[in-house]
Every structure is written in structure tokens, then in C-alpha cells.
């Protein structure tokens, strides 16, 4: 039987925190997984197909990939993270897209705005 290929979504998120030097990729990924487990459990976690595509701590942004059906779930999990190792942090989803190319355009707009301000 031919299965339809699962569609994917890329979520661009910005990171706001007081002290960015304290975080690395492992800690952030662990926090996202913990949040998914805490609020949605194993049953939903196994459907997400979560993948950290890009993480730029210099420019405070990241791109995460998940299945299109669990997009809202992953956004909720990102939103509900308030701290990592007692350090306050916000993951704020900016844009969701089906292709990584369109996220690049949004990224450019954000960084141009950042440079101008």
C-alpha cells in the first residue's frame, strides 16, 4: 500500500532571554522536548517528528521542523516554556511555513529591522 508522504512545517521562532551565553543547543532542545512531554505526553510527542533545523544564538532565532498536523501543538509547547535552568526565556514563534525558503525571506526582514533599530 502506498502511503502519502507526511507534510512538514517549519517554524521560525525568536529567543528572548536575559543571559544568552548560558544556553546551548542541547539545553534548548531538551527544554522543548520536556515541554511537549509535560503538556501533551507520549501519545502526541511521537507524532511531532521534531527536528531542530537551525539555531542561531548570536541573532536569537531558531527554526524547528515538525509534522503539519502537530504544528499548533509545537507552537503551544514553545510558548509554555518560561525558563531553562532557572533562567527566564521566551520562545516566540514568528512564522510558520511549508518551505524553508520562505522563512529565509522573513528572517531577512527581521534582521534588517534589527540593524535599523
Amino acid at each position: 500500500m502506498i502511503m502519502n508522504k507526511e507534510r512538514q512545517r517549519y517554524i521560525l521562532f525568536r529567543i528572548f532571554n536575559e543571559n544568552k551565553s548560558k544556553f546551548d543547543q542541547n539545553k534548548i532542545l531538551k527544554a522543548i522536548w520536556q515541554s511537549i512531554w509535560r503538556y501533551f505526553g507520549l501519545k502526541e510527542a511521537n507524532k511531532t517528528g521534531l527536528w531542530l533545523v537551525e539555531l542561531d544564538l548570536e541573532n536569537d532565532y531558531g527554526i524547528i521542523r515538525c509534522s503539519h498536523q502537530t504544528k499548533e501543538l509545537v507552537i503551544s509547547a514553545l510558548t509554555l516554556i518560561t525558563e531553562i535552568n532557572s533562567e527566564k526565556i521566551i520562545f516566540s514563534p514568528v512564522k510558520t511555513s511549508g518551505t524553508i525558503r520562505s522563512l529565509d525571506k522573513v528572517k531577512e526582514i527581521i534582521f534588517n529591522r534589527k540593524k535599523n533599530s
Binding site: Y39, L80, T82
Partner: protein, 244 residues
């Protein structure tokens, strides 16, 4: 039009704090914001509001929340708010005041933001709000708790509340109402939480964050416009001449 953060409490005496918080909201991508004076000081003066407007590109609106101690107190304070140009809300656990507020056309929002106040909601009050075309408000601030036990309790209360409101179909708005800076979130993200964890459909959640807030702002605009007597009835200047 993008989503609204319908309640952000700010100390209006501290301009630096206002600037800092508004800049932070702008970074989070919030485009529409309704501000409320934190200590309930009635100082929504035009000069101050113009100053605040210069701090940011966000579309700002204002609201005022009454927290009366008893019914007489409520009736007395309400007299000062005839044709109030901003959004007027009431937040109280007292059922008598809730009923009176739901009946009064000067009150725009009956707020159930606090988890203690949320428990006092009744079907009668919701029905009165629906009749009067005013709005019911609940906030997502109680979910930002570190303790898992209290957080799950608050989720349960919010779930019951939203289910009741959605069944009875009054106008409702959903606000963040976060007091701590690092609890602020973009309304689009809060919409996702309503959908995934509170069991609301995406359309219902969008109503609470966008469509109903626009209706609320229109209601306030109509109140300021003296030519509009009630919903659907507008006095048109020179209208008589047209028929002569």
C-alpha cells in the same frame, strides 16, 4: 488585521517602565494592545496618552477596570463614567454586582481574569451579558505557573469556564493579562494554547483574540458618537431635509 493583547496592566505614573514594556511587546510582534492603569488611578489624560503613543508603533487602546466593594459603591462610581471614551470593565467576585454590571449598558466587559473570580460565574450572568451585547473576558495568566499541581488545576478551571461560555454563546474576549515581563506572549501563540489545551476550535479562539475585540472597540466608538442612540439607530444630521 492581526490579533489583540486585550489586557496589559501598566503603572501610568512610570513612563520609563511603560516605554520598556511597550518596546518588549513590539519585539514580541504584538500589533494591537489594550492598556490598563495598574493602580486603577483614573489618570487617562489626553496629554499622557499622546506621550505613550510616541513610544511605540503598536496600535494602543485603553481600558479601565472597576473593582467595587459593594453594590452601592459600584452604583456611585459608575455615575462618573457616563460616556467614557475608553473601554470600561468590572472585575468582582460579588454576584450581585456582576448581575448589575451585566445589565448596565455603560459596562463593556465583565472580567473573569482571576481564578478565584472565575469560580463565581453563573449561567444567569452570561445570559444577561448576551442580552446586553456586552463582553465576557477571561485571561490566560493563571496557566503560567511553575507548580504542576496548581497549573493543572488552573487549566481545568479554564477548560470548564471556556466550555460553559462557548455553549451559551455570549461575546467573549481572551486576554493574556500577564504581569511579569518574561510571561508576555504573542497572542497568536496564546491562540494555539487555547486550541490545543483548552479544546477550543481555531475559529472560536480567533474570535476571542481578534473579531470580538474589534466589535468591542466599535461599541466604545459608538458610545462616544452622540448621534448613535442604540445599536442600529443613528441620528443623521440633515436627514429631514432630504425628504422635503
Amino acid at each position: 488585521m492581526s490579533y489583540f493583547e486585550s489586557r496589559l496592566r501598566i503603572n501610568f505614573d512610570n513612563l520609563e517602565e511603560i516605554r520598556y514594556r511597550l518596546t518588549f511587546c513590539e519585539k514580541l510582534g504584538i500589533n494591537h494592545l489594550i492598556l490598563e492603569p495598574v493602580n486603577n488611578s483614573n489618570n487617562l489624560k489626553v496629554g499622557l496618552l499622546n506621550k505613550i503613543k510616541k513610544f511605540t508603533n503598536i496600535n494602543l487602546y485603553y481600558r479601565f477596570n472597576l473593582r467595587p466593594n459593594n453594590l452601592n459603591d459600584f452604583k456611585k462610581t459608575l455615575k462618573k463614567f457616563n460616556s467614557f471614551p475608553h473601554i470600561l470593565g468590572v472585575e468582582t467576585p460579588d454576584k450581585e454586582i456582576q448581575i448589575q454590571a451585566a445589565k448596565d449598558s455603560r459596562i463593556d466587559i465583565l472580567s473573569f481574569s482571576n481564578e478565584e473570580i472565575m469560580k463565581t460565574i453563573s449561567i444567569g450572568v452570561i445570559s444577561l451579558i448576551k442580552q446586553n451585547n456586552s463582553f465576557i473576558e477571561f485571561s490566560l495568566a493563571p496557566i503560567m505557573m511553575k507548580s504542576k499541581r496548581i497549573q493543572s488545576k488552573n487549566f481545568r478551571n479554564l477548560y470548564r469556564f471556556t466550555k460553559l461560555v462557548l455553549d451559551l454563546k455570549p461575546n467573549y474576549i481572551i486576554s493574556g493579562n500577564f504581569s511579569e515581563l518574561y510571561h508576555f506572549r504573542n497572542p497568536r501563540s496564546l491562540l494555539s494554547i487555547c486550541h490545543t489545551l483548552l479544546g477550543m476550535s481555531l475559529n472560536d479562539a480567533k474570535k476571542g483574540f481578534r473579531d470580538n475585540v474589534q466589535l468591542l472597540l466599535e461599541r466604545v466608538k459608538h458610545r462616544v458618537n452622540k448621534n448613535i442612540f442604540q445599536e442600529g439607530v443613528k441620528f443623521i444630521k440633515g436627514g429631514d431635509n432630504d425628504y422635503e
